[in-house]
């Protein structure tokens, strides 16, 4: 009997150890064998892995980081204020009625595979986006433009109506025709599934390897047209545990962190040789009211929400400063208007004395005066028109930083003004359901727009009901303001119109802009210098809108190859010998290992 057990156990263990060795061997071939001696390598920790390496399927933050490093655009977002600046084009001129834009393209450009880059590639890319209706990019080409390339260094954009689209600039990465032409006309899934590791681009760094769930690496592009970066390679490592990621930064295993939750600010802020960057916000936390009327919806949201007095009272009952402090640990500013602060040229900052302000007493008074009284003394007001109590179902996205926590505070604030709220935390998958079916009274989610405010204003227009509109708010005056700024060619006039639209939306309260949270980055101050913020010194340090940082980063002192924690090889060898020794001795004694030391 004992020998049977021993047979089975030995066989099992033998098989499993063999599998283990096979594992280590097979796993080794999966990682790239690139020597790094003498190379200048920047190591960045991220919380979000790449979703895709395909520029036509970009989704989350890390995707954009890679795309922005690998590809150029016609014009780039400048680091100072995100307005258009030269990139592939040194400049673009328009004719008098803004229907024709002519851009001068730099001569002698090459792709990372050595092929020439000309105006033809730009025209191809734009036509590809339009013809294949690529969702992320097609909205940058209003009014069916056509493109001409009389010579390799001239690119002409012709529109049927006056447009400022080329100067926004369009956030469309220019791709090589000789790589992508075979996919023109294919279905969307096929286009999105094309693997681009390694990629072919014109930017300073090209994605050379991607191990999903683990890391992605970009190597320097030898054909890049601009100044040669001091960096040879950039390694992004995926961390699923943020505390561990911070630890790795403090240990020196990585040089920078892209993305951190607010509750961990304190563990970074007071560390030696580590600095925190609170990036000026390019998104906002949104409490959106539902006005009903989504196509196919069977839910009737709270009728009282159609009353401006009720919506205003709700806004005044919310202590936005408390949300900033308690939910975001101070890494945010209170919200007011729908165009994010990072678009500094367009964002309307309403002075504090002109805002509704936090005032629950006044809010209660307003509701009393409007007739929403608590007739049965249960702490909940009733609607004088329907007799129904004021109760709200409020889904909150658990995938949006701070949404659920802010929601919990808001339930308390609403209680103070006699409104009962049920918070329904939901993943984005479920939020999407609520959104599409209109099955909510208000929800807490986010919006982040583009540097140009057009898209953000667009989603609030009336015919976006059933498409991008949060709660089907329909206001013809707002629609008019949107149209006016959308067709205004003069930048300064347009700025006025955009601010008017924001003020009007603020006054009508179709939702409440709760906060502008900062994105958080951290970096070691003793490894690299030359971080370029976009936009401005409070902007993203790691490439998001442009790759200026990659061009200006230099190592401090000698080549930085990163510190590493780890037991040196000889310790493992000694340990292995010791274990083997113990096993041999015990086997000789004919007894099993005594586990006292274990």
């Amino acid at each position: 009997m004992r020998s049977r057990i021993r047979n089975v156990l030995t066989a099992t263990l033998g098989l499993l150890f063999a599998a283990t060795i096979a594992t280590a061997a097979s796993a080794q071939t999966a990682t790239p064998a690139v020597s790094s001696d003498g190379d200048v390598v920047l190591r960045v920790g991220v919380i979000a892995d790449l979703d895709t390496d395909n520029v036509f399927a970009v989704s989350a933050g890390s995707d954009y980081t890679v795309a922005t490093s690998e590809y150029d655009m016609l014009l780039k977002f400048s680091s100072t204020d995100l307005t258009a600046a030269p990139e592939l084009a040194t400049g673009c001129d328009h004719n008098d009625d803004y229907t024709t834009w002519t851009c001068q393209i730099r001569p002698g450009l090459k792709w990372s595979d050595g092929q020439p880059l000309t105006s033809e590639d730009i025209a191809f890319t734009y036509r590809f986006v339009i013809d294949n209706k690529i969702p992320q990019y097609k909205s940058y080409f209003p009014s069916d433009p056509t493109f001409e390339t009389p010579n390799p260094t001239t690119f002409i954009w012709k529109a049927k109506e006056p447009t400022f689209a080329p100067s926004m600039p369009p956030w469309v990465y220019i791709v090589p025709e000789h790589i992508w032409a075979p996919y023109d006309g294919k279905d969307l899934k096929t286009i999105r599934d094309v693997s681009q590791t390694p990629g072919v681009g014109s930017g300073p760094f090209i994605l050379s390897s991607w191990t999903p769930g683990q890391s992605f690496v970009m190597d320097r592009n030898p054909y890049y047209w601009g100044p040669t970066p001091a960096l040879d390679r950039i390694e992004y490592r995926v961390y699923t545990n943020q505390e561990a990621m911070i630890q790795a930064l403090k240990n020196g295993e990585i040089d920078a962190i892209d993305g951190l939750q607010p509750s961990l600010i304190n563990s970074v802020q007071n560390s030696p040789n580590v600095a925190l960057q609170k990036v000026v916000s390019d998104w906002w936390l949104n409490l959106a009211f539902n006005f009903g009327g989504q196509p196919g919806s069977t839910y009737t949201p709270l009728p009282a929400l159609h009353d401006l007095v009720v919506r205003k009272a709700i806004e005044m009952s919310i202590d936005k400063e408390a949300i900033v402090q308690k939910v975001y640990q101070g890494a945010a500013t209170t919200g007011d208007t729908i165009v994010r602060p990072a678009s500094a040229y367009w964002h309307l900052d309403i002075p504090a004395d002109k805002e509704f302000g936090y005032n629950p007493t006044t809010a209660n008074q307003m509701l009393d005066d409007a007739g929403y009284l608590d007739t049965n003394n249960d702490g909940i007001r009733e609607d004088p028109n329907t007799g129904q109590p004021l109760e709200m179902r409020i889904p909150a996205s658990t995938d949006t930083t701070g949404a659920e926590e802010a929601g919990e505070l808001i339930v308390g604030y609403l209680k103070q003004i006699g409104i009962k709220a049920d918070l329904l935390p939901a993943t984005d998958a479920k939020m999407n359901d609520y959104w599409g079916s209109g099955n909510f009274d208000a929800y807490i989610w986010y919006w982040s727009g583009d540097p140009d405010p057009n898209y953000q204003l667009f989603v609030f227009t009336s015919d976006q009901c059933g498409a991008w509109s949060d709660g089907c708010w329909k206001d013809s005056h707002f629609d008019k303001l949107y149209e006016e700024q959308h067709t205004e060619m003069d930048q300064t006039t347009r700025q006025t119109l955009v601010k008017q639209a924001q003020q009007y939306e603020y006054d009508q309260v179709p939702g409440v802009v709760l906060a502008y949270p900062n994105w958080l980055e951290a970096y070691r101050t003793d490894r690299f210098t030359g971080w370029v913020g976009q936009p401005g010194p409070d902007g993203y340090l790691l490439p998001t809108y442009n790759y200026d940082t990659w061009l200006s980063l230099k190592p401090i002192g000698e080549t930085s190859s990163g510190g590493s924690s780890g037991i040196p090889g000889w310790v493992w060898l000694v340990a292995a010998l010791v274990i083997v020794g113990i096993v041999v001795v015990v086997m000789r004694r004919g007894r099993k290992i005594e586990p006292d030391e274990a």
Binding site: R2, R4, I5, L13, L16, T20, A22, T23, A24, A27, T31, P32, A33, S36, D51, T52, N54, A57, S59, A60, K133, P135, Q136, D187, L188, K189, T190, V194, S195, S209, T211, P212, G213, Q214, E235, R237, V238, Y239, T240, N241, E243, A244, M245, Q247, A248, N251, E253, D428, A429, N432, D433, Y455, A467, S564, S565, I567, G569, W572, I593, P595
Partner: protein, 321 residues
């Protein structure tokens, strides 16, 4: 022969169970709210038309039963489909991570069961001794302790304070050869330690109880009466019989190895199957979810089958019954 029919019927049962699991998994995730393409609306600026278009391209607008039929046919030919998010074939996604899970969880299960059983044997044999009391309480504490918390603690001490080990991840990017092996061991040590400590308690407790029960059996008294030395009583009579429940436990545990250890994987950023599953569920990536659940279920079913078969081999009394 009787045992061949027994074997055949067990295998047939396994296949039927697997088919049931496949079907259940397929419909279970499609019943969840939301749809994978609709999720892209907010982050990728998809209009409703874009959503419908991509759904069509991915075959998600076909009638449910038709999708199910396509799925069964693909599985039969070994095609697990492609990730809806990345287009990477599911087989490749699972293949690149399965070994990392097997390495960590498999090795951890081996070590935990090996040491756990030994501790249980010694504790049960010398019941009431100082070793027994200490090991019993330690086992209970470890068994009850949340693995995530233990992991964070070990990370803080060994990586944060002592800098002996890196703060997570599978391996550094650019090592090869022996350096790679050393680097792997550096990254593997802490999660492996956490996992082993987390599982060891269970095995020790089960083995110990079993030992105590078996010691009081009649045949043990007989052996002692015959004058067999204590050492041999333990080795030849008590342990082989007491080991049977633990053996079942161990074999079944190996079945669960492929389920991954998501908490440990998250704490240590270990890119295994557990994390792949979690992300896939969050983004409703049906092919990936189905693929992972298929593999995990198959592993459990096969492990069960193996346990049934080898149990019969180990204990002749079972086969004759």
């Amino acid at each position: 022969m009787g045992s061949r029919r027994y074997l055949l019927s067990k295998c047939l049962q396994a296949v039927v169970t697997l088919w049931f699991v496949l079907t259940f998994n397929f419909f279970l995730f499609r019943v969840l709210p939301g749809d994978p393409v609709g999720l892209l609306a907010r982050s990728e600026h998809f209009t409703p038309e874009d959503v419908a278009r991509l759904q069509h391209d991915q075959g998600l607008d076909l009638p449910m039963l038709e999708q199910y039929g396509v799925y069964l046919k693909n599985v039969a030919t070994g095609d697990l489909g492609e990730s809806l998010r990345t287009g990477i074939p599911v087989r490749e996604l699972i293949g690149s991570r399965i070994w990392k899970t097997v390495l960590l969880v498999g090795l951890g299960t081996i070590l935990a069961s090996w040491f756990g059983v030994l501790i249980g044997i010694r504790g049960g044999w010398r019941r009431g001794s100082r070793f027994d009391t200490t090991s019993q309480y330690s086992s209970l504490v470890l068994y009850a302790m949340p693995e995530g918390w233990l992991g964070m603690l070990l990370l803080l001490v060994f990586s944060g304070w002592l800098h002996w080990f890196p703060a997570g991840g599978y391996a550094s990017v650019d090592e090869t050869g022996v350096a790679y092996l050393v680097d792997l061991l550096d990254h593997l040590f802490l999660p492996l330690l956490t996992l082993t400590l987390g599982y060891i308690g269970g095995y020790a407790i089960v083995m110990r109880s079993s030992m105590i029960e078996t010691i009081n059996e009649d045949f043990v008294h007989t052996a002692r009466a015959k004058g067999v030395p204590e050492r041999l009583v333990r080795r030849k009579h008590v342990v082989p019989n007491a080991f049977l429940p633990s053996f079942t436990l161990i074999i079944l545990s190996f079945g669960f190895v492929l389920g991954g250890a998501i908490v440990i994987e998250t704490v240590y950023s270990w890119p295994g199957l557990g994390l792949l599953t979690y992300n896939a569920i969050n983004t409703l990536d049906y092919p990936v979810i189905q693929g992972v659940f298929l593999i995990a279920s198959a592993a459990v079913i096969v492990a069960n089958l193996l346990a049934d078969i080898t149990y019969g081999y180990l204990d002749p009394r079972i086969k004759q019954a």
